[in-house]
Amino acid sequence: MRQRSTFLFSVLCFGFAFFYIPIISMIVYSFNKSRLATVWGGFSVEWYFKLFKNAQIINAATLSLEIAVISATFATILGTMAGMALARFSRFRGRTFFSGLVSAPLIMPEVITGVSLLLLFVFMERYFGWPAKRGFTTVTIAHTTFALSYVAVIIQSRLLSMDVSLEEAAMDLGSKPWQVLFDVTLPIIAPAMIAGWLLAFTISLDDVVITNFTTGPGATTLPILIWGKVKLGVTPDINALATIIVLVVSIGVGLAGYLMYRSEKKRERDIQMALAANK
């Protein structure tokens, strides 16, 4: 396999260079003194300071975080239910349709989802008077709807790999179905729910297109703000903002990865010890 390894190795190197060079370039230029984003004019951190004084950006970031937390929470609740329905109930009326509904938002072009949700909200406002205007509520509903699918897929695959007799055992020991749910199923799938929540949170925080259609005046999320600025071209303050976002996410993902790795290692050690002690 040696000869091919060199080929794979070079493609990997190229691929990761492709992934990371633009990001590194962006980070470097965020420390650029020059107002012209692409011409180097010496080292400076002034754009970062300007960023923190920019109330518009701070407000947009706060709004984005609020929407992300709320929609991720709703998406986790609904997505967990949907994942359970798909993994545990093999037959109910309209199951195939339901399964299609759950997975379709994952690949549905966002423009279609965005336009159709906007039309729904216009329709609802006109005929039900709720939500009264587009903004926080409509964006949160939209984000919940498509993030729910991601959570459902995670929960479904977690449940499918979980031993069903765990739930049966709890019932056998006298727990009613809802007690089984809270005593056994939820604690066991909790890590998957957390992963789902984080994914839903990130997706909400990141969304441009659907937010663009479903938001209204006065509810500018961070991506919408950046979107508006970026349309006009590359600027050093966006570089700085991007750098902060990239760093926060990287640290978060890296930390999560490390913690998972460590708990996995600890588990393996425990199993080894249990086996060794018994021999």
Binding site: R4, I23, M26, A82, F98, L119, K176, W178
Partner: protein, 324 residues
């Protein structure tokens, strides 16, 4: 709860089919309440916020555009609807070209993603221990960072004054005669830029399903093939490649479908004179306020993508079945 009433369950062992007996609310609460609620709540949510919007968008595509608030109208008399939006879709070259540009860009980008993503996924799947996790994390990391910012990062790279563009320009000039030397590479605002950034943004969607597939392959199969006298390239062609087809299909669909309807990338780096269909929908909707036309374009796009979307859903279903 009529829509979700449980039917008699089948031979699947994971189905908990509780014996019937007492009836009434108390009994329902004890036995089937959780089941009914768990199915009904997300079902109703999705019908309200996923199915209903589609019905509305289909209705809207059959409406007439008017300059008013709201900017559409249905006929007062039978048949109430009009097909003029769809007629325009086929008669006005702007729309047809939008679809064709979208399909072309998405196809090229998908192919490039596969060409680059497959060896990367294979390399990661074959990596040892900790390295595999680290490499995988490096693929996922850009995927977790902002999509918009990834597009933005390339805008910074492609601009005519950027170090990347200038470097590329000097490199190209080495091969060009002095008379025809260029000042910069015209990368921005072109379909080339769109394809490049689509590949960049969607590459993780290609690598991850491929990795998941390749990782599961039993390497002893390769060893068996080699033991039976095949050279590495032949082993790849005869064993690895055929077994990874589900991963290839999943990855291609995950790139192709969203890429066809992409809006952000063509808006930021694309050619305004030859826009992708997502941008056409957006412009029709937001700039022209022609809601019925935008809806018709979106409905037609969905029709175009319905086969790959069904295919993807089927694959998801089958993967779930397999996991049981």
């Amino acid at each position: 709860m009529a829509g979700v009433a449980p039917q008699n369950s089948g031979p699947l062992p994971q189905e908990l089919e509780l014996p019937g007996g007492k009836t009434g609310f108390r009994n329902w609460l004890d036995r089937n309440a959780w089941r009914d609620i768990i199915i009904a709540v997300p079902y109703i949510w999705l019908i309200l916020f996923f199915v209903a919007p589609f019905i509305i968008i289909i209705a809207m595509s059959l409406a007439q555009s008017v300059i008013a608030q709201p900017p559409f109208r249905f006929d007062e008399t039978w048949p109430y609807v009009t097909f003029e939006n769809f007629e325009r879709l086929f008669s006005d070259y702007v729309y047809l070209r939008g679809y064709l540009t979208s399909l072309r860009n998405a196809l090229i980008a998908t192919a490039l993603c596969l060409l680059l993503g497959y060896p990367m996924a294979l390399g990661i799947a074959r990596a040892k221990g900790v390295w595999r996790n680290i490499l995988l994390l490096l693929v996922i990391l850009p995927f977790w960072t902002s999509f918009l910012l990834r597009v933005y990062a390339w805008m910074g790279m492609m601009g005519s004054n950027s170090w990347f563009n200038r470097g590329l320009t000097s490199l190209i000039n080495v091969f060009l005669p002095a008379a025809s030397e260029i000042n910069s590479v015209p990368m921005m605002n072109s379909n080339f830029a769109v394809i490049l950034v689509v590949v960049y943004s969607y590459l993780p969607f290609m690598i991850l399903p491929l990795f998941a597939n390749l990782e599961k392959l039993d390497f002893t199969l390769n060893e068996a093939a080699m033991d039976l006298g095949s050279k590495p390239m032949t082993v790849f062609r005869d064993v690895t490649l055929p077994l990874s087809i589900p991963g290839i299909v999943a990855g291609c669909l995950l790139v192709f479908i969203p890429a066809t309807g992409e809006l952000v990338i063509p808006s930021l780096v694309g050619n305004a004179g030859d826009p992708m269909i997502g941008r056409v929908i957006n412009d029709e909707f937001s700039l022209n306020r022609h809601w019925p036309m935008a809806s018709a374009i979106a409905v037609a796009l969905l029709m175009l993508l319905v086969v790959p979307i069904m295919l993807y859903n089927r694959m998801q279903e089958r993967a779930a079945e397999g996991a049981k």
